[in-house]
């Protein structure tokens, strides 16, 4: 087959001939799941009236919800070994990612690397990683509250008042501290983050998380400067991880996907502390 498959007995990921993730097989089922990077173009209000403020440190506001694809073809390199299988993806000059599945894992790890975000066109950019699936989530998704309780979210809706959404994208973004998820009667997709990010589900079956942003205008909420972080005079480069879980949504007495997600969340957010020591002994002496 011209498709690339990585994985183990618990989860397999299939990449299509353009290098994009196309399918995930896990928990006894195969779902169409794709992942790509896109970026919103940032709004630059004139900050005079309250309404048309720029996208900035306090505000996320895409310009007319303009969203651009990072690329339409990904170059990939595949490494397979006895402990881990990896697909190294290059989306463009400033977005790349490693998708890996360890031998005994039940989830996939997406280690993204974004930046320096180019601004030669004088347009601020807000980069998202978007996972699309065929799960019929019916406008409902879940985001965590500080790593604990999962809060139910419904697109273009608020629980406690009749909301009028002026910003169809930003008005549906919520804080994600560790997890965002959606499900239907058969399948569930959850993504764990390694840091707080903005996230949403703007279409059924779709989850998106904002991984990096570079803005050129202050949003007049007090900081008095644009969110344009630089390192050595260039835009900041950010690197992080998303963990993708896919499985059956029905609650089973023996094991629930949510319980597995919870355990991995703890172990990825509180990994072991690593200490290195020079050693002059041989291994026998060391033992």
């Amino acid at each position: 087959s011209s498709y690339t498959v990585i994985g183990n007995n618990n989860i397999q990921l299939t990449f299509d001939t353009n290098g994009f993730l196309a399918e995930v097989t896990a928990d006894g089922m195969t779902r169409m799941i794709s992942q790509e990077f896109l970026y919103y173009e940032a709004a630059t209000g004139n900050n005079a009236e309250f309404l048309n403020r720029s996208s900035g440190a306090y505000i996320f506001r895409p310009d007319n919800n303009q969203i651009r694809f990072a690329t339409d073809e990904v170059t990939i390199e595949v490494y397979k070994g006895q402990l881990v299988q990896e697909v190294h993806q290059k989306f463009n000059d400033w977005i790349s990612q490693v998708v890996r599945v360890y031998k005994q894992s039940n989830h996939a790890e997406f280690e993204w690397l974004v930046g320096p975000i180019p601004i030669k066109d004088n347009i601020g950019k807000e980069v998202i990683s978007r996972f699309k699936s065929d799960i019929k989530s019916d406008g409902i998704f879940f985001t965590d509250s500080n790593g604990r309780e999962m809060l139910k979210r419904k697109r273009n809706h608020r629980e406690t008042w009749n909301v009028k959404i002026h910003e169809s994208v930003a008005g549906n973004y919520y804080p994600v501290t560790t997890k965002i998820a959606l499900e239907d009667t058969t399948a569930r997709m959850a993504i764990l983050t390694d840091r707080a990010q903005g996230g949403s589900s703007l279409e059924d079956g779709v989850l998106e998380l904002m991984v990096h942003r570079r803005l050129l205008h202050d949003d007049a909420f007090g900081v008095g400067e644009a969110l344009n972080e630089t390192e050595y005079g260039e835009g900041l480069i950010a690197r992080g991880k998303h963990h993708l879980f896919v499985g059956q949504s029905l609650q089973r007495p023996d094991v629930s996907l949510k319980a597995i997600e919870r355990l991995v969340q703890l172990e990825t957010l509180l990994p072991s502390w690593k200490f290195f020591s020079n050693v002059s002994y041989s291994s026998d002496q060391w033992l």
């Binding site: 087959s1 011209s2 498709y3 690339t4 001939t17 440190a57 306090y58 390199e77 595949v78 490494y79 397979k80 070994g81 006895q82 402990l83 881990v84 990896e86 190294h88 290059k90 790349s96 490693v98 360890y102 031998k103 005994q104 894992s105 690397l113 909420f221 007090g222 900081v223 008095g224 400067e225 969110l227 344009n228 972080e229 630089t230 390192e231 050595y232 260039e234 480069i237 690197r239 703890l266 172990e267 509180l270 990994p271 072991s272 502390w273 690593k274 200490f275 290195f276 020591s277 020079n278 050693v279 002059s280 291994s283 060391w286 033992l287």
Partner: protein
């Protein structure tokens, strides 16, 4: 205590809403990062003395106290660590902060691809070397010689406890040879 108090005070500053949300000015953000790194570095002496005491206590018949350095590498997130890159042999101590035993796949940045990892019982563990992604190794300001990440499974790390692994460059080339990408699909 002076070190720990310094970290406590620094974490106190980090409760400011700007530090939590990232709405501070760029220079303030850099100051926060600097305070955190100074405080964590100060506390690495605490960690070192605790781990040395523990390792002496655990190794009763040791004559001289084993003075390990227990250095932390804060650039592991860009696959960079001087100790593991520049030494042919080194020890890696993993401290598990959770209240239950965990298995963790560990990734260590190294210069080459043929290494041996020995666990505390003397067992040689299966390892795999994976190239550092090109986009990472091409990052301009990442001055690291690591071309690979050495992967091994640290199993049953004790709750609120630690395990030390011995890692050494081996003269023999692994049977699977130098890691190379699978053939491109047409």
């Amino acid at each position: 205590d002076p070190h720990l108090n310094f970290l406590r005070e620094t974490m106190g500053i980090m409760q400011h809403h700007d530090a939590v949300t990232g709405t501070e000015k760029q220079k303030v953000a850099l100051d926060y990062a600097k305070r955190m790194s100074v405080a964590l570095r100060a506390c690495s002496t605490n960690i070192r003395s605790v781990l040395n005491q523990l390792s002496i206590a655990s190794d009763r018949n040791s004559q001289e106290p084993s003075k390990f350095e227990f250095k932390t590498c804060t650039l592991l997130n860009i696959s960079s660590c001087a100790t593991s890159e520049l030494n042919k042999r080194f020890a890696l101590t993993l401290y598990n902060p959770l209240a239950h035993s965990v298995n963790e796949y560990v990734r260590v940045p190294v210069k080459d691809y043929n290494y041996v990892v020995i666990d505390p019982t003397g067992k040689v563990l299966p390892v795999q070397a994976v190239p550092v992604p090109k986009a990472v190794s091409n990052m301009k300001h990442r001055n690291s010689s690591a071309q690979y990440e050495l992967v091994f499974l640290a199993s049953s790390l004790p709750p609120v406890g630690y395990k030390t692994y011995y890692i050494e460059k081996s003269e023999t080339i692994p049977a699977i040879g130098k890691p190379s990408p699978s053939p491109k699909k047409t």
